[in-house]
């Protein structure tokens, strides 16, 4: 081992605490990068493999009722590889021990053989026997949530008729990776079932003998899906086609796509902050080391070591710390990624999800760490090169404060000497001090801004369940009914209030922009379900036009006064032009609203309702659910309390954990910056501090001279970090908003309080560690060394 290498290891050992603090900052950045890109790769590749292996369709087309022979026409569309038809229907299932009827989707499988498209992954039991009409396969997630197993029975109401089925198998499906009940915000395994039954069974149940209501198509490679969808729409239009859509619009797939998108965006930005802070820290630490070792550097040069050899020695030190941090980050990233995969399996029901480390993530993480560290190191190299042996071996002149240390006489009068010493550190090295302030502020800002996502969830829960939807129960009918049906609901004992809703599927368009969604018709003064503006004031329904949510308005690029083309995909499928009359605040999805009767008039179906919002007496809920279950026209009953509980649970389990991650971010960055700043201040001034002790200053007074600097850096970082965090909140909100969720830039004072507290604690901890060392300093030794 060469002497320089040995010196390298000893130097590392000497500054181990600082090296570890910096390596941790780098490790955090690389951890996130490796974990997130790994998750992106894992989710993306697993999804693709799953879709391919189980032949998920490329195009989905829902119709009211189409005769089976029409399949031949669909097969003729150029580029279509496979066509499968099936029957989809909504159902209510009864689970023992659960009062409310649960919503379910019934999906048909061919009576004989495997489906050509959208095959299933059988986890337990066996496939359907085509000769037995009472058999079903059940989505595993729902089965697990209720302890239903192969051999159990399940009662389901389809089209008003109730029957009992035998569960012969539990399955997972690429089509239902993420399940969400119609009209709800979040996935809840226990409240939405998918059951698969033989085609003949469902044909009988939904009155679709010899017909189908959904066509699935796969296309050959290189085919333009849009052209195929257009062709399919032309064929299916007269059978009540709702408009074909691609796999990208499949709800389950969209949730995964958005999750992957969020991970990619975060992995591209957050780790950079860590690496920048680490580069800054490495720079100041190694610069300091070069300063204190100027005599050694002069000696080495005098012995004949070249500039590059000496510079390379210090560069190696930087690279060792950077590489160490990066490797640690990779290892932790893999571990965290594996943990996250298990968490993801709770939401996305893959049959398998193995955390796959994308080799490029590793390469990018390590390279970025080393590059950013090197950037910090270049300045150090310059310093080493600039030292001539003769100059280096003379003691350094005292640092010159003559140009930077002058205060106004007025200001100086109020300051004692220790205060001046503290403040002159700032005026003499404004960039280093500024860097420390910005570094801590960056950690604080990152922490608070990311926490705003969490605050947003809490706000969403609050507004969605206390301000927008004030009902207790939402009832969905199997098809639009006469409005007087609501009187029957009102007569159920315990029902206090009933309000109508008419939901229609529609494609809303403005110019070339279109959105496949729907319009909700509500009463003018609807009280149980309301559209709200940004200030949470109700937006009243209007007959003369449509009210867009902010989410939809931004998708379509529309504002009040614009005319939208509304292509209604229900009933007689009218296409109407409607003006936008107002924009309401939306949190989830991209809804559009209209006064219910105006909507019905546009549809040519007066006095129809597709569902109702109910306010009920909680004491009689059981009886009310039973009464609703028995009504043939009821397709779904959704309880607000269940929906809210599901959302709260989801937030607590998933994003809620982000609290701890964000606290860690603020803590580690602050500790890294403050500890290094304190260590360097201590090293640079150990002689000054010892002199002060000798002159008669107490430990506390000396502590002030050293730690006052850290205190000021921290105090300056708090408002700056809070301000940056506030601005970053808007950036994060914009970056994370999707079609499915609108993230509002919500500032939660509690999050700021927590982050600030963490910064202060981390700062105090590093100050304490350094102070402990000052107290132990042997005065005599400090005086003898010449610095």
């Amino acid at each position: 081992m060469s002497p320089l290498t040995r010196k390298l290891f000893r130097d590392l050992w000497r500054i181990k605490a600082q090296a570890v603090a910096i390596a941790m900052v780098i490790a955090m950045g690389v951890l996130m990068q490796v974990m997130m890109t790994g998750l992106v790769t894992s989710l993306d590749e697993t999804r693709q493999a799953y879709y391919d292996r189980y032949r998920l369709a490329d195009i989905f087309a829902y119709v009211t009722r189409a005769p089976e022979p029409i399949v031949a026409d669909l097969r003729q569309i150029p580029g279509v590889a496979q066509v499968e038809t099936r029957i989809m229907g909504s159902a209510l299932v009864d689970v023992p021990g659960v009062d409310a009827p649960l919503q379910a989707q019934a999906v048909s499988l061919p009576d004989f053989g495997d489906p050509r498209l959208n095959d299933l992954y059988l986890t337990d039991g066996r496939k359907l026997d085509g000769t037995r009409p009472d058999e079903i396969l059940l989505l595993k997630g729902f089965g697990d949530a209720h302890g239903l197993q192969v051999g159990d029975t399940l009662a389901a109401t389809m089209n008003g008729a109730r029957r009992t089925f035998d569960i012969v198998g539990l399955v997972q499906s690429p089509e239902f990776l993420y399940t969400i009940a119609p009209g709800e915000f979040v996935s809840d395994d226990s409240r939405f079932a998918v059951i698969w039954a033989a085609r003949s069974t469902l044909a009988a149940a939904y009155d679709l003998d010899g017909a189908f209501n959904e066509a699935l198509m796969s296309i050959t490679r290189g085919t333009d899906p849009a052209a195929v969808m257009d062709a399919a729409d032309r064929i299916l239009d007269r059978y009540g086609g709702r408009g074909a859509y691609g796999v990208a619009d499949l709800i389950s797939n969209r949730f995964i796509t958005e999750e992957i998108g969020g991970l990619s965006r975060t992995s591209g930005s957050v780790p950079l902050v860590f690496l920048a802070v680490a580069a800054f820290l490495l720079n100041i630490v190694i610069t300091r080391m070069v300063q204190s070792e100027r005599e050694e550097i002069g000696l080495m040069k005098a012995f004949g070591y070249s500039n590059w050899q000496v510079g390379g020695h210090y560069f190696e030190l930087i690279l060792t710390i950077a590489a160490g941090g990066a490797l640690l980050g990779c290892v932790l990233g893999i571990a965290a990624g594996r943990g996250m995969v298990d968490l993801y399996l709770n939401y996305f029901k893959f049959p398998f999800l193995v955390f796959r480390l994308d080799p490029s993530a590793f390469v990018i993480g390590v390279t970025a760490s080393i590059l950013s560290a090197s950037a910090g190191g270049l300045f150090v190299l310059r310093k080493v090169f600039a030292l001539s042996p003769a100059v280096a071996m003379r003691p350094a002149a005292p640092p010159d404060y003559s140009r930077s240390g002058r205060f106004g006489a007025a200001a100086a009068r109020f300051m004692d000497q220790p205060t001046r010493m503290v403040l002159r550190r700032f005026t003499r090295q404004p960039f280093r001090m500024g860097g420390s302030v910005v570094g801590i502020a960056a950690g604080l800002a990152l922490s608070t801004a990311m926490s705003s996502l969490l605050a947003n969830f809490e706000y969403m829960v609050d507004v969605s369940f206390n301000a927008i939807d004030r009902s207790d129960v939402t009832v969905t009918f199997t098809h639009p009914l006469e409005r007087r049906t609501l009187f029957e609901l009102e007569r159920i004992p315990g029902v206090i209030e009933v309000e109508p809703v008419r939901d229609v599927a529609a494609i809303l368009g403005r110019g070339v922009k279109t959105y496949r969604g729907g319009i909700s018709g509500l009463g003018v003064d609807s009280r149980l379900y309301r559209a709200l503006d940004a200030n949470e004031r109700p937006v009243f329904m209007r007959s003369d036009g449509i009210i867009l949510s902010t989410g939809l308005a931004s998708i379509l690029g529309a504002s009040a006064g614009d005319i939208l083309t509304v292509d209604v995909r229900e009933g007689r499928q009218p296409v109407v032009d409607l003006p936008v009359v107002a924009v309401s605040q939306s949190l989830v999805g991209a809804p559009a609203y209209m006064e219910i009767e105006a909507l019905n008039r546009a549809l040519g179906e007066p006095l129809r309702v597709s569902g109702a919002y109910l306010r009920i007496d909680a004491d009689q809920s059981s009886q009310i659910y039973n009464a609703l279950k028995d009504r043939p026209n009821v397709a779904g009953v959704s309880l607000k309390s269940d929906a809210r509980d599901a959302l709260v649970k989801l937030v607590d389990e998933g994003p809620g954990n982000m609290r701890y991650v964000m606290a860690l971010i603020a803590g580690i960055i602050t500790f890294g910056v403050v500890y290094n700043a304190a260590r360097i201040a201590q090293a640079e001034r150990s002689r000054d501090l010892a002199s002060l002790r000798v002159i008669g200053f107490t430990k506390a007074e000396v502590g002030f001279v050293l730690l006052g600097e850290i205190g000021i850096v921290t105090l300056l970082a708090l408002p700056l970090g809070s301000g940056l965090g506030y601005l970053l909140t808007f950036v994060v909100a914009a970056a994370f908003s999707t079609e499915l969720y609108q993230i509002l830039p919500i500032v939660n004072p509690a999050n700021y309080g927590t982050a600030i507290l963490i910064v202060i604690v981390a700062s105090a901890l590093s100050a304490w560690l350094v102070k402990r060392d000052i107290d132990r300093t042997e005065l005599v030794l400090a005086l003898k060394t010449r610095e």
Partner: protein
């Protein structure tokens, strides 16, 4: 606690003082049972080669370090029995230090370096008066980086005397200086001794400086070899460099 102590002619009384660094085979005996009395108000020079123990003794008398065993008294107060806080108080109120490498605060001007001490001392002189004593009143607004070594050392002396110390300790005060500036520094020390009545202890290995002392303590191998009381003293200007 040190205030109001009985007047005595002896500033320091040292008996059987030993200082051992390290343990066992590696133990270094820096002081091997020193007995020494230093009268109040004298100019005392501690002479001896490197490693003879003179700086160790100075550090113990100055309250920067403690002996391993033995008795050290400052005007009848037991330094060995003092806590860290009491030693700090002792240094603050009674002791002035001048170091070989000056140890000025680079971020404070000459006057501010002096004020550093006058702010915490109980009966300080005016900072400008202290700088005037060392002949540097015209440079009081300069930072250390703007001054020569001799000037920095004189600021250090001004800082040490501004509190009107009972004792002034100087560890190789001229070690880093040339003869002209070195003599100037010695003149100031002499002046302080005579005008303020402070006891001055100078550690040096320059034997020629012994000529200006009231009392010369010769050190060798961790013990006092010889104490010489000068009947006639030279002036700093007569000293050979």
């Amino acid at each position: 606690m040190i205030q109001g102590m009985a007047m005595t002619e002896t500033a320091y009384s040292v008996q059987k003082l030993r200082k051992i660094y390290g343990e066992g085979e590696a133990a270094v005996h820096a002081l091997r049972g020193v007995d020494l009395d230093i009268p109040k108000g004298e100019f005392v020079v501690l002479l001896g080669p490197s490693g003879s123990g003179k700086s160790t003794l100075l550090n113990i008398l100055g309250g920067l370090d403690r002996g391993t065993d033995g008795d050290v008294r400052f005007m009848q107060h037991d330094l060995a029995a003092m806590s860290d806080a009491e030693l700090t108080r002792y240094r603050r109120d009674h002791v002035g230090f001048v170091f070989q490498f000056y140890n000025l605060m680079p971020s404070l001007t000459a006057r501010e370096n002096v004020e550093l001490v006058t702010e915490i001392a109980s009966d300080p002189m005016d900072p400008d008066e202290a700088l005037d004593l060392v002949g540097l009143d015209h440079r009081s607004d300069h930072f250390p980086a703007q001054m020569s070594g001799g000037e920095q050392q004189r600021v250090a002396i001004a800082r040490a005397i501004a509190k009107r110390p009972t004792v002034l300790f100087c560890d190789e005060p001229t070690g880093a200086l040339d003869s002209t500036t070195g003599r100037a520094v010695l003149r100031v020390l002499k002046d302080v001794n005579e005008r303020l009545g402070s006891t001055v202890l100078v550690v040096t290995h320059a034997a020629s400086q012994a000529a200006m002392a009231d009392r010369v303590v010769h050190f060798a191998d961790g013990d006092v070899r010889e104490v010489i009381v000068n009947e006639t003293k030279s002036t700093p200007d007569e000293i050979e460099w």
